[in-house]
Subunit: 395 residues, 2 copies
């Protein structure tokens, strides 16, 4: 099987999470991703724990399948080499603060003149336009500013951050969309273009339903815990040993639930006859259901209610989640051999194509591929490339 992005070369200036998540997705799809790293430390995230045999798991997990070239971007010789390398590329990804690439002499204008087929994808906090373009942004700050935290959490008094770095990760995912869209378009028009992806835009876009309600009705959604503002019962309930989820937000499922719980009269109770009534009378309904479910453990309810045709599920921790039968059934965990860290287990790509394979390769040791690309671009011997690296010509 072939890969989707076979033959596509990506020059990757991105660091930490958002940009690297994008280029990991491109590498999974078969692209040749060349990570440009600074001498000595490389990507900051190489220093983030926990470590396996001295290698950062954080770095390993979002940089699989990439090459590493070490360059000092203030060294003219390194810049000359870099520009010639970019001349051979299809895509460039960066997540510096707006303006940094321009100061380095690597603006879209400069590079697209040399290589008109280049797709130039920038990821940033607020995007490259607008009054806040130059403000520093982190995942937490963007989750707060966009309203994401205001609708997450058990109640309005405890606005909660989404547990993973949703603004960073989804920015990487949207950047991959931008790159693929521009690659497809390049097949039609023969030239590349600029892609401007912002964490702020992304969270507003995925908050679409909440934002549209506020924009058009003035209604301001709040954190309401684990129940649903418009479907009921669709919530977490108490078991004797914890809580679990039931999603029975239509009349048919509610009737099945009431019967399975041994309280069929609930489905005929005038307070709970329709979804609208159940939403209105939610606190009473919650009490009725909790009174029954709190008598037996989570495991019992998840098995028994699912067998009764009611969508039900536990609230797994990460360890329990990874034991779910579908993890094995879908090969969601894949093992990659890393030259230093040894066998490392990673989460597989969620992009499943019937006729294109996903490529899983280890993350690079810092500078592992500098020599290789020196030989290619400068058309020099292995010996000469090796000497240049040893003498730190490009550092």
């Amino acid at each position: 099987m072939t890969t989707t992005l076979q033959g596509i070369r990506v020059i990757d200036f991105s660091r930490i999470l958002a940009g690297p998540f994008c280029t990991m997705m491109l590498a999974d799809l078969g692209a040749e991703v060349i990570k440009i790293e600074r001498p000595g430390k490389g990507d900051d995230s190489r220093a983030y724990g926990p470590f396996v045999n001295g290698e950062s798991l954080y770095f390993i997990s979002v940089n699989r399948g990439k090459k590493s070239v070490v360059l000092n971007l203030k060294n003219p010789k390194a810049m000359d080499f870099l520009l010639r390398l970019i001349d051979t590329a299809d895509v460039l990804v960066e997540n510096f603060k707006p303006g940094v690439m321009d100061h380095l002499g690597l603006s879209y204008e400069t590079l697209s003149k040399r290589n008109p087929r280049l797709i130039y994808c920038s990821c940033s906090g607020y995007g490259h336009t607008g009054p806040h373009a130059l403000k520093p942004a982190y995942d937490l700050i963007i989750q707060g500013i966009t309203g994401m935290m205001s609708i997450t959490g058990p109640d309005p008094e405890h606005p909660s951050k989404v547990g993973m770095s949703i603004a960073d990760v989804d920015t990487g995912v949207f950047a991959a969309i931008g790159c693929l869209a521009a690659l497809y378009q390049r097949e039609k028009i023969g030239r590349g273009q600029q892609v401007d992806i912002a964490m702020f835009d992304i969270l507003m876009a995925i908050l679409e339903n909440a934002a549209t309600r506020t924009l058009n009705t003035g209604e301001v959604p709040q954190a309401i815990g684990n129940h649903h503002h418009a479907a009921s019962p669709f919530a977490s309930f108490k078991a004797s040993d914890g809580i679990f989820n039931i999603a029975a937000g239509n009349d048919l499922l509610f009737e099945k639930l009431a019967t399975a719980l041994g309280i069929p009269e609930l489905a005929k109770d005038p307070r709970f006859l329709t979804n609208r009534l159940r939403v209105q009378n939610w606190p009473a309904l919650e009490d009725c259901i909790n009174a029954v479910t709190s008598q037996k453990p989570v495991d019992h309810w998840c098995r028994y209610l699912m067998d009764s045709g009611v969508p039900t599920g536990p609230i797994n921790n990460m360890s329990q989640a990874l034991e779910h039968p579908q993890v094995k059934g879908r090969n969601i965990v894949t093992t990659i051999h890393h030259p230093t860290a040894g066998d490392v287990r990673c989460i597989a790509s969620a992009v499943r194509l019937s006729d294109n394979e996903i490529q899983y390769r280890p993350s690079p040791i810092l500078g592992a591929d500098t020599e290789h690309y020196l030989q290619e671009i400068l058309a020099c011997s292995e010996k000469e490339a090796s000497r240049m690296v040893q003498d730190k010509d490009l550092e």
Copy 2:
């Protein structure tokens, strides 16, 4: 300016949120998306409030730019028409339970024989393979099962659902990636392929960092509220009138923060000298910072600390979020005129391409385009198409 997907025809069987979010992204990029809806009610989400002039805001917000064709898939005449329509298509998107399309006679095998260039994208809860493929899944259930809820919330006792339907929405986003990847690949190999996108896979993929830690160290992350497990201070803090976020997770920013708060000695305190120490001694550090920040309001700190170079931000509600200067600066709100609902305000596409425009068009009235496509596919007159619709030939 042209659009990215000009000339691409998408047949859309998807309903509610995950599939429709995907096809909205394709429509934004310029594709012609033809939504196939059942007679009478159409997409279930047309009945979800709130409503504007009788039109569902929920439906409007994720179905902009699409056409609507009403067909009864059990009517042989409708099926004949539908198959001929699919023969003209580039992409098909569906989010039925696995097996439903096969039962309708619309399997990938059947359709790809007729139209080998067709890209066939399925979105489902657990994917089309594995032991749980046929289990019902909803966003809430998937958030619980994958561990997403276990790491979100103020403390381990309050695992919290992400406030928006992250499993649904991100499944739509990943489905768009699958469609774009397959479209790009089709340019190379001349034929389509099958795309299998699962909510379960997606949440595992975006939980990558937490999952990788658990897989390789056995460490099980928990909900820890709004601070960070590996960077400090990177958290929500108390003001006199609420809470707000500070992201100052390196030594330089911490020193700036301590100075700005008027407690420069904090940066020299042996408990807080390095990020590692600040993470270890987080409760003490939190108390020291809260003692100062709790004396003045959120607005003061957000302005003053940002001016001091410390990344800081409020926890906005949706209404405040939409007033952020960047919303106007980036044209994040766009107004679309809907024939019945009037002017509706929507969140703009977050995919920003320099040389391709985004198309914003209203969501369709149920069946608005049936006549148009009858004329095209059956090569019949306007009058005949109109008669067929009036006589409900295809219902």
